[in-house]
């Protein structure tokens, strides 16, 4: 009897791994494996014409934040990298805040619609999200270009005499990233809001709370896990953004993704590019750990 069941479970295990083989092979070849090679590359010496020399070196990791002066061998902070790092973090945080300010009321609006209509409203939010990121970025670019729609209107109305420079500024990145990643805020916030018990809201009003007090003391604490989840979901792709800053920043407002690109392109420093990629990956992983925790907490409050 026990023999039979061990045979069966052994066969089950074998079948399981057999079924998993194609997916795992593909993912090892084109996702996990290459990532491990990036780790190795980050400890090598850059080659003269791109690529690497197979010589161990800490230099690239060191160069992420500091650099040695070419002539005096003096240590100093790598200003260029730190500027880009700081811009990436700053713009990602600002995007999170802006997405929250727009996304929270929108999620609330959808959650307070009649139950059978909510799916449709959410579909309206998700349709743009599933369309091409590049195209949505183009759409924003065409609006804010010097000869774009907004400037044409402003000029036409005589509000300004010459086009307002919006493209290639940090402002354009902020607007663009909020536009493309907003649904990532709305989705989890809406998910927690949909389960909001409005009896609690009513109780708040019965106790003479104002609308803002109810919002701040009753609604917000109840949907906070959703807000945390949404903030991280927006923060992560912003930090690693490549297309949006390339199109809307035009090479002037580099973000981390573009800096990595530069190391593999014009600057030909693959090990530094690898070290920068892993830095980005590390920050993202930390953020995702917090995300999992936020989701977990929401699960608990369900019970």
């Amino acid at each position: 009897m026990t023999d039979l069941s061990t045979i069966r479970s052994r066969r089950e295990t074998r079948d399981r791994w057999l079924l998993l083989t194609p997916a795992l092979v593909i993912l090892t070849l084109a996702a996990m494996g290459p990532l491990l090679i990036v780790v190795i590359y980050s400890f090598l010496t850059p080659g003269d014409y791109g690529g690497v020399e197979w010589q161990f070196s800490w230099t690239s990791w060191f160069n992420v934040v500091a650099e040695r002066d070419f002539f005096t061998e003096e240590l100093k902070l790598a200003d260029a990298h730190l500027t880009v790092l700081w811009r990436s973090v700053k713009l990602s945080l600002l995007t999170v805040i802006l997405s929250f300010l727009v996304g929270f009321p929108t999620a609330y609006f959808i959650a307070t619609r009649p139950a059978h209509k909510r799916d449709m409203w959410m579909l309206l939010i998700m349709i743009p999200f599933w369309t091409n990121l590049l195209i949505r970025t183009f759409a924003i670019m065409q609006l804010i270009r010097n000869h774009g729609t907004i400037n044409m209107i402003l000029l036409g109305l005589g509000i300004v005499d010459e086009p307002v420079q919006m493209l290639y500024t940090e402002f354009s990145l902020l607007v663009g990233m909020t536009y493309v990643y907003l649904p990532l805020m709305i989705l989890p916030v809406y998910a927690s809001m949909e389960r909001l018990d409005f009896n609690l809201v009513e109780a708040g009003y019965d106790l003479y709370a104002t609308r803002f007090q109810v919002l701040r003391r009753v609604i917000f604490p109840l949907v906070k896990p959703g807000v945390v989840a949404g903030s991280i979901l927006v923060f992560v792709p912003c930090l690693g953004a490549y297309v949006t800053p390339r199109v809307l920043g035009g090479g002037k407002q580099l973000m981390l993704g573009n800096l990595i690109d530069l190391q593999f392109g014009q600057l030909r420093n693959w090990p530094l590019g690898a070290a920068l990629s892993l830095t980005l990956l590390a920050v993202v992983m930390v953020a995702l750990v917090f995300y999992v925790r936020a989701i977990g907490r929401e699960g608990e409050s369900d019970v």
Binding site: R16, W130, V243, V247
Partner: protein
Amino acid sequence: MSKGFDVRRQTGFNTIALTCFVLLYLPIILLVAYSFNAGDSIAIWEGFSWRWYVSAWENEQVQEATLRSVILACSSSLVATSAAVLAALATTRTKPWRGQTLVFAMVNQPLMVPEIVTAVALLIVFAAVKQATGYTGLLYLVLAHSAFCIPFAYMPVRARLQGMDLDLERAAADLYGSPVQVFRRITLPQLWPGILAGAMLAFVISLDDVVITEFVKSAGQDTLPTYMLGQIRRVITPEINAISTALLAISILMVITFFFLNRTRK
């Protein structure tokens, strides 16, 4: 409490929400509108015309990129969906097993790792392989796309499987159905909507990809999105809008179909 006091109302929220919906669609609508512009500008309207669609259609680079995009999206979604269905069958409706966390981490890895990181990782590996073998064909892109499409194909299939009960399959097995028969006659027919949804999602994800394609492609291997990205340095004509509109139409159609495929389940 006074009559007509709406506990759900929050001052200004409706305005913000409706503005949000308008702002979400306005840029896209303008982009689409200017694809029909008779003039050369993407900001000044000069009347309706199909000319940019005609010019995009006749542009050889666009033709080539479109063909490549479609071949790539079809083959990667086929590969990714097949692998994902097998993986979902192996990992759903079973007791916890050893290695479960590792497998889930691997399957979902493309969703967690920033695209630019995967892109440079693939650049490093494929550059070495290209140099060693001399092969510079489309297979690198197929492999790369298949990998990041797997989680998108996996999710709907897994969700569908979780919603299916094992009773029908048990009954079929009791009636001496062989495992292959049970799978073909019982499991697969119930699973179809999930598979279809997964394949469509994978197709759209592959069709839209810019970053990984940009780093993996060999010279002259543009897909539609990388072709468009290359055009931003030049003077932009509504031709780009016309291509964008066509791509948008495909994605939106697929997403809406996906939405209804997933909904009928409830």
